[in-house]
Amino acid sequence: MALSGKNIATISVVFSAISWMIMLASSLLIQFEKVNMVQNGLPIFVPYVFYIFFVLLLYVFYRAQVLSADGINVIDLLWRVFVTGLVATLLSLLARYFLMALEGSQHANNPYFLIIIFEVHLGLATAYLISIFVVWKRLVLYQKNRKLLRIWQFFETSFFFSFLFFFFHKGYFDISFNLILGFFAIMSFVLSANLKWVAYLNYRQKWNSILLLLLIAFYILYFLRTIHDLPGFIAATYDMTQNITLLALFAFTFVYSVFSMLVLLFNLPTSSVFEQKFEEVINFQRLSQSRNTGHDEKQVYDILLESSVSAVMANGAWLEVYNDEDAPMVLYHKISPKRRLEILEKLQKAKIKKLRSSDPVKDMQTRRFMANINDLEYRSILAFPLYVQNRELGMLYLLKDLYDGFNKEMIEIIRTFANQASISVENFKLLKEAIDNERYKEQLKIAKSFQKILLPENLDRFDDFEIAAYSKAAAEVGGDFYDSYKSDDDRIALTIGDVSGKGTSAAFSMSQMKAIFQSLNMIDLPLHEFTNKTNLALGKCLERTLFITAIFLRIYKSIKTIEYSRAGHCPLLYYTAHDNMANYLELPGMGLGVLRDVRYENHIQVGNILYRKGDILVMYTDGIIEARNESNEEYGYDRLKKIIESSATETCEEIENSIVKSVFNFCGARTPDDDFTLVIIKFK
């Protein structure tokens, strides 16, 4: 079972307490045996062994605690250590108070009592030092590297081995003892050089840390002195001077505390610089990330202004953002619009300094520059343009209350900010465009599928003719259409048409045309009147410059007659089988919507054809006639006529294929730039 940090902490603290109690009990027992001259009693190292357990379990406890508080900051860590020290010291004072209260009584020199007092202090001091040790470890290893980690591991292992010293050594402060202590002292100094965390504290945090460290160091000294002075130090059943581990702990925690304090103190004057730089980095990040977090352009400008002001410590600033049509949008920082205009006026008289020697002098008014101005409040000004794709997007003005207030570093940082802001704004624009484009595409897709429905899949037919249709739009949606309406078993109405203009607007008009065609066909009108009414109805819907050309025809099966009118559309092509000739039927007529009143009626003519077996009727749109090849020639009427004559014996669909193939062959690499539509009827 995996143990969580909390469980580990609880278990280890319980066992360390037990270890401490066994240590105390065994110490008392040894003392008892000593007083009563018991032979072969408890070995003298027993309390020490339990002391080792106590130390190790405490270490596990504190480590688990510090590890579980992962996101914690330095100040909080120091605060914890301080609180531990405070509690330990208060407990120690309490114990000593008892000792003092007993002064003079017989108990004052009771060895058992002194041992208890001593073991309490030993426990408190050790606990305190271990808590420091764990936190100091974290601080030393702040932004660690491999080498540092190795040194630390070596240092920690040395502590472990120092426990063993007790078992092999009996002398007081001899050479080997001093050597080992010296080793720990040197290691402490070496490790005390690792104080990277200091740099990340701001001014206030540094002061807080100094204060906390001062108290922490004070408590360390207090315990060192107290333990040394306690009568139990000597009276203890084992010699504490042999406890090199504890001394080394004292040494390391104290040395690191003092070093930290000094470094913090010396870092105080420069901390504002670091804070400044740090803020710049943060601001830069805000500028570059703003596009991701749902900000808008205005927020980018706000961040830019705010960041720039804090980066150069400006006393006032404004940001002009140029829009295409309106007056510039101005964002102010600690300056009124009125003062802005005054300063701009003063700027006219000021001597402008170039920021770079390469900047052209002529454009100085609109480009980056620096100037000292004659103003009571402000003495110098820095102006910086924002560019997006070589277009000036805006201008940033920063003001300071001293002459030549902007140095090279400041200009550099402003340049970086301005560039980043420009990129962010550009990204906004690009993103917006991309979304808009996507939306248009989606709309076109809908229009396309909608238009497909408008063109009938199967045209109405009688058994005495075949019919085939083909339509291809140049864009997603087109303006060509065809439709049919079967009135009864004798009459079928057909139409083909072309809405002027292209694309979506044409498709829109086409749907109106379809509705009108279908509606009017329900009423039994003569073709002349039908054409007239269609024009009047369309006249009410079509935009001023739009018109529709169409051919309306009716096939009467019983009398084998085609009746047709031409509303400004390309003339019908009619092939007669008996003479193998195709001809264009140039009946006069006028486009729908060209004249939108009763006058239109005068321009309508109706033609009649008697059809016979093998005759072919071709309806088409101008996209075929005007299809052009690479040398800009038009496909033209003659080619269409000839292809019909040469393929007249084929079926309707074959003829359709021949025409389409012929047009595409003619165009070659050039794609047709207009919609083109074909309806072919072949009589049987």
């Binding site: 203009g501 006028m590 919507g593 004249l595 321009h603 038009e634």
Partner: protein, 116 residues
């Protein structure tokens, strides 16, 4: 591509010279020119000699002025249309509504005829 040149001919006759291809995008400029001309002049000549191609959008521009010309009694004559361009006008039936002539002198003659 389209190229439109406007100039004032003698006797208050305004001349618009159109050359190139009058398609959907370029017809906007044609619309502007005619629009400005009908505001100020009542005799307008449109030189179509150099029109290579006219699309339905271009025809739409001419069409859209038919009513206005009639209401304001403005004389507008197109001249010098190539056979192909003329055919396009004819198919749509615009030849019935607009005055289309061969030469500039014919066009002027027509305009002067109106004023008489």
């Amino acid at each position: 591509m389209i190229d439109i040149k406007n100039e004032l001919e003698e006797e208050g006759v305004y001349l618009i010279k159109v050359s190139g291809e009058v398609d959907a995008s370029s017809s906007i400029f044609l619309d502007q020119s005619i629009g400005e001309a009908v505001e100020k002049y009542d005799k307008i000549l449109i030189d179509c000699e150099k029109i290579e191609y006219i699309s339905s959008a271009g025809l739409g521009v001419f069409m859209s002025y038919i009513n206005e010309l009639e209401e304001k009694k403005i004389g507008l004559v197109l001249y010098g249309l190539s056979d192909k361009v003329l055919h396009v006008f004819q198919i749509l039936g615009l030849d019935k509504l607009l005055k289309l002539v061969d030469t500039k002198s014919e066009a002027k003659e027509f305009l002067n005829g109106i004023s008489l």
